[in-house]
C-alpha cells in the first residue's frame, strides 16, 4: 500500500438544503430531512458525464464506481450518452482536489457545472489509490457521509494537532472547513446509520496523533463489509 493513498481523502460539498453542520444546534430547522432527503429513488439509473478526459479514464471511473452496486442494490451507474441528462458530472481538475456533492444535492448544481471532482485520478494512478478515491467520492454521490462523523464514532480529537496539520501545507484549510469536514457530528435521529464502521471506505485517514485516545483509522481502498451492508440497506 502506498503512503500516498492515505492522503486521498476529500471534502464534501454541502449544497443548499444540506444538513452537514459542526454543531448539533444547527440541526434544529432540519429535523426530518437529514440525508434521507438526499438519497436517490430506488431503481434510479445514475448517468455520469465527464469533462475533458480520455475515454479509457471515464470507463475506469465507471467500472470502479460500480463497486457500490452490490447484490440487492436497486441502482445503476452508467456513462451518459451524448444528449442525455446526467445527474452526476465529473471533472478532473488537478487543482481542485477531490470532492463530491452528497446524493441528490448533485441536482442542485447547474447542469454545466461538475458535481464531483476527481483531482488526483488519472489513467496511470495505481489501482488501490484510484479505487479509494473514486469509490469514496461516489459514496458521497450516493448519499453517504464521512464515517468519522458517525454519531457513534465518538472520536476524541486532539484538536490542536488536527488544526495545526490541516491549516498548513498542503491544505491551508480555514477553521470553518476543518470544523465541517472533520468535527461535524450528526445527530443520530437525523441520519440513516448502520453500526460505526472503522474500516469504511468513507472514513478519513486519522493518524494516532490526531486523537487523544491514540485511536487511528485507515480506510479501506474498497468496500468494507460494513459499506456493503449500508448500501444494501439504503438501496435494497
Amino acid at each position: 500500500m502506498s503512503t500516498e493513498r492515505r492522503s486521498w481523502i476529500c471534502t464534501t460539498i454541502d449544497a443548499r438544503g444540506g444538513v452537514q453542520a459542526s454543531s448539533a444546534a444547527a440541526f434544529g430547522a432540519l429535523e426530518g430531512m437529514a440525508e434521507r432527503g438526499k438519497l436517490w429513488k430506488n431503481g434510479t439509473t445514475l448517468r455520469v458525464r465527464f469533462r475533458l478526459s480520455e475515454k479509457a479514464l471515464q470507463e475506469r471511473v465507471i467500472e470502479t464506481a460500480r463497486a457500490w452496486l452490490v447484490p440487492g442494490v436497486k441502482l445503476d451507474i452508467v456513462a451518459a450518452k451524448p444528449g442525455e441528462k446526467a445527474q452526476i458530472r465529473v471533472a478532473f481538475d488537478a487543482n481542485e482536489g477531490s470532492w463530491s456533492a452528497v446524493g441528490t444535492d448533485s441536482l442542485l448544481y447547474p447542469p454545466a457545472q461538475p458535481s464531483m471532482n476527481l483531482g488526483w485520478a488519472r489513467l496511470d494512478t495505481p489501482e488501490q489509490d484510484f479505487s479509494s478515491v473514486v469509490i469514496h467520492e461516489f459514496g458521497h454521490a450516493l448519499g453517504l457521509l464521512h464515517e468519522h462523523n458517525h454519531p457513534l464514532a465518538r472520536i476524541r480529537w486532539n484538536k490542536a494537532a488536527v488544526d495545526a496539520d490541516l491549516s498548513g501545507d498542503p491544505n491551508f484549510w480555514d477553521q470553518d472547513t476543518i470544523d465541517s469536514n472533520v468535527y461535524a457530528a450528526y445527530e443520530k435521529s437525523q441520519v440513516i446509520t448502520t453500526d460505526f464502521d472503522a474500516a469504511s471506505v468513507m472514513i478519513y485517514t486519522i493518524p494516532a496523533h490526531w486523537t487523544l485516545g491514540d485511536q487511528a483509522f485507515m480506510p479501506s481502498w474498497k468496500l468494507s463489509e460494513g459499506d456493503r451492508k449500508t448500501i444494501a440497506m439504503l438501496y435494497g
Partner: protein, 162 residues
C-alpha cells in the same frame, strides 16, 4: 488538590477547556514556522502540579480548545522568574508555540525555570491556577511510574485534502 481540573488520559480537562502538550523535534521547531504535533506529551498530576517530560531533543507546544465547540476562555502561561507570559484567547487562538527545550535557544517564552504558571479561564468562571513542571524524562518516569518514549521522528506529512 484542586478538583476543578483532572487528567483525561494525556489531556487536561478543566470544565469547558481541554489542554494538551504537543511534542515536536527541537531541530524542526521554528518560532515563526508552521506547527506540527509529533505526538502528545505524557502528563502526570502531582497535587496541583501538572508534570510533563521533555527530552533534550524536543520542544513542546501547548494546544487548547473549548469543549464543546463554541465555548470561550483563555489560557495563560507565565514564567515566574521574569513574569513574562503568553496568553491565548479561545477559540480564536489555540496554541502557545513553545514552552521548553533541553537547551537554551530563542523562543517566544524564554524558560528560565522548569516550573511555569498555567492559568486556565473558562468564560464566567474563576481562574484555575496550576504549576506546569517540565521534567527530565527519567525524573518524570520515576514520578509517574510510566515509561517515556523518545521521539521516533516526524509524523507523516498531513493528508492532502480536497
Amino acid at each position: 488538590m484542586d478538583a476543578r481540573w483532572r487528567l483525561d488520559g494525556d489531556a487536561l480537562d478543566c470544565a469547558g477547556l481541554r489542554v494538551a502538550l504537543q511534542r515536536i523535534g527541537l531541530a524542526q521547531w521554528r518560532a515563526q514556522g508552521p506547527l506540527r504535533s509529533w505526538g502528545l506529551a505524557s502528563l502526570h498530576r502531582d497535587g496541583d502540579t501538572l508534570c510533563v517530560p521533555c527530552g533534550d531533543d524536543e520542544a513542546l507546544w501547548l494546544g487548547a480548545w473549548p469543549v464543546p465547540a463554541g465555548g470561550r476562555g483563555s489560557v495563560a502561561l507565565r514564567e515566574p522568574q521574569t513574569t513574562a507570559g503568553v496568553q491565548i484567547e479561545l477559540p480564536r487562538e489555540q496554541a502557545i508555540t513553545a514552552l521548553a527545550a533541553g537547551r537554551p535557544i530563542a523562543r517566544p517564552l524564554h524558560v528560565l525555570r522548569r516550573e511555569l504558571l498555567l492559568d486556565l479561564v473558562e468564560s464566567g468562571f474563576e481562574p484555575v491556577k496550576l504549576v506546569l513542571a517540565l521534567l527530565a524524562p527519567a525524573g518524570w518516569s520515576a514520578l509517574s511510574g510510566r515509561a517515556w518514549q523518545p521521539l521516533s521522528g516526524p509524523p507523516p506529512r498531513p493528508p492532502r485534502l480536497g
